[in-house]
């Protein structure tokens, strides 16, 4: 049994923890709101880009000879992964889930040479030690939140160039897809090589287009752009999921702290009551002893 003083001290410290978690929750909420706007805007762009690309492909001959569509001449065993994690913890299982998914992929593809490009400090910490150090290629030491579109362009250009040179045969992105604040999914997509099925219009043909200058020339610019937008979209999805996860975790922490305070207050009152009873008993029995004596 703790003494009343010790219990009081505990209550005090938990109250200050509760204040901190509540503040963190509010910070996460406001950041979430900001990034949610961005993810929605970017989703529109990505979808429209996908539609335009699909329609453009549908009115071309079925064979596409673009280098991003083939893995011929590539080192087929080399797989490149862009892993997007958070920079900070205290966001529930957000970082763990996506890292776990990546580790599973590396295990399943043990025969291939998997190389990781890490965005987000947490991923870097995990893959800088332990069993999978060999998979780390490089870490992008940039806060995920500050990784704007122009930086994505640079990264995408490097990846596309690397792919075209045949340095690796597949490009995957591991990120966390945002659905609602309570729900997000660790997800992986294969970005390269592109597949024709990805742009299937499902029979909704659009007829003839006037294409200027020419389909091939536009595709030449549109494909790398498509990779860029996909990458950017994945980063934003992850960022939104992170803030959502942090918000949920902090709400839970605040609630738990509240419950703990209630419980401690109860045992504090109990202890106090007990102490009073004990003292009373002592006084009464002392008095009785005097009378009898």
């Amino acid at each position: 049994m703790l003494s009343t003083r010790e219990i009081k001290q505990r209550i005090r410290s938990i109250t200050s923890i509760k204040q901190i978690t509540r503040a963190m929750e509010m910070v996460a909420a406001s950041r979430l709101k900001r990034v949610e706007f961005r993810v929605i805007a970017s989703r529109t762009y990505t979808e429209k880009m996908h539609q335009v690309l699909s329609r453009l492909i549908s009115c071309r001959p079925p064979e596409i000879s673009h280098p991003l569509f083939t893995d011929e001449g590539h080192k087929a065993g080399n797989v490149k992964i862009v892993l997007i994690t958070g920079d900070k913890g205290l966001c529930g299982a957000y970082n763990n889930n996506i890292i776990k998914k990546t580790v599973e992929f590396i295990r399943e593809n043990a025969s291939k040479k998997v190389k990781l490009i890490l965005l987000g400090k947490k991923g870097n910490i995990y893959f800088s030690k332990g069993n999978f150090v060999y998979a780390k290629e490089r870490y992008i030491p940039e806060p995920v939140e500050k990784f704007g579109y122009n930086k994505v362009q640079t990264l995408a250009a490097q990846l596309v160039a690397g792919y075209e040179e045949g340095e690796f045969g597949e490009l995957h992105i591991f990120f966390t897809k945002f659905n609602t604040v309570m729900q997000s999914f660790p997800t992986s997509i294969r970005l390269l090589p592109l597949e024709k099925d990805m742009f299937d219009l499902k029979g909704k043909s659009v007829g003839e287009y006037i294409i200027e200058p020419s389909a091939d020339q536009i595709l030449e610019h549109l494909f790398p752009k498509y990779i860029e937008t996909q990458l950017y979209q994945c980063i934003l999805e992850s960022l939104t999921s992170e803030f959502a996860a942090r918000r949920v975790a902090m709400i839970a922490a605040t609630e738990n702290a509240g419950e703990m305070i209630d419980e401690l207050t109860r045992s504090y009152n109990k202890a106090r009551q007990e102490a009073i009873t004990k003292e009373l008993l002592e006084v009464i029995s002392g008095a009785e002893a005097l009378i009898q004596g």
Binding site: F37, A41, T44, Y45, K48, V52, Y209, I210, A215
Partner: protein, 134 residues
């Protein structure tokens, strides 16, 4: 009133413009062109240039685009571009600074890659400024 069609400008950051309009005129890589309602399906690449919109109320609105693509399909016109600003949104000081730093890079000589990037930045800054000065 002239027939209208739906026109949108979308960047990765936001939907810049979405409204019914009467006509637009844009600068494609193959030359300037205009779009009215019932235009044939078209896909084209755009230059870093100024795009003029004549909206449903016959008001003219201008935007500066950083390249991009334009698609016309069934009276829906979409412009996909990396960046786009409206007349009132140009940050003149910052654009001037961008322009200067791009010019510096070009004159001081760096790697071909850096120069290429500077060239793109310079072109964009010039277009942005053109939009404000008219």
């Amino acid at each position: 009133m002239a027939k209208t069609f739906k026109f949108e400008i979308v960047t990765p950051e936001k939907v810049v413009y979405s409204d019914s309009v009467q006509s637009i005129s844009a600068d494609g890589t193959e030359g300037a062109f205009g779009v009215l309602a019932d235009h044939a399906p078209l896909i084209t690449e755009l230059r870093t240039s100024i795009l003029t919109v004549n909206d449903a109320n016959n008001k003219t609105v201008q935007f500066a685009l950083d390249g991009g693509f334009l698609e016309v399909i069934a009276n829906n016109v979409i412009v996909l571009t990396d960046a786009c600003v409206a007349e009132g949104e140009v940050n003149v000081e910052k654009t001037r600074a961008d322009k200067e730093s791009a010019e510096k890079t070009l004159s001081s000589g760096g790697s071909a890659e850096e120069k290429e990037k500077a060239q793109v930045n310079l072109k964009r800054a010039n277009t942005w400024l053109k939009l404000v000065n008219k």
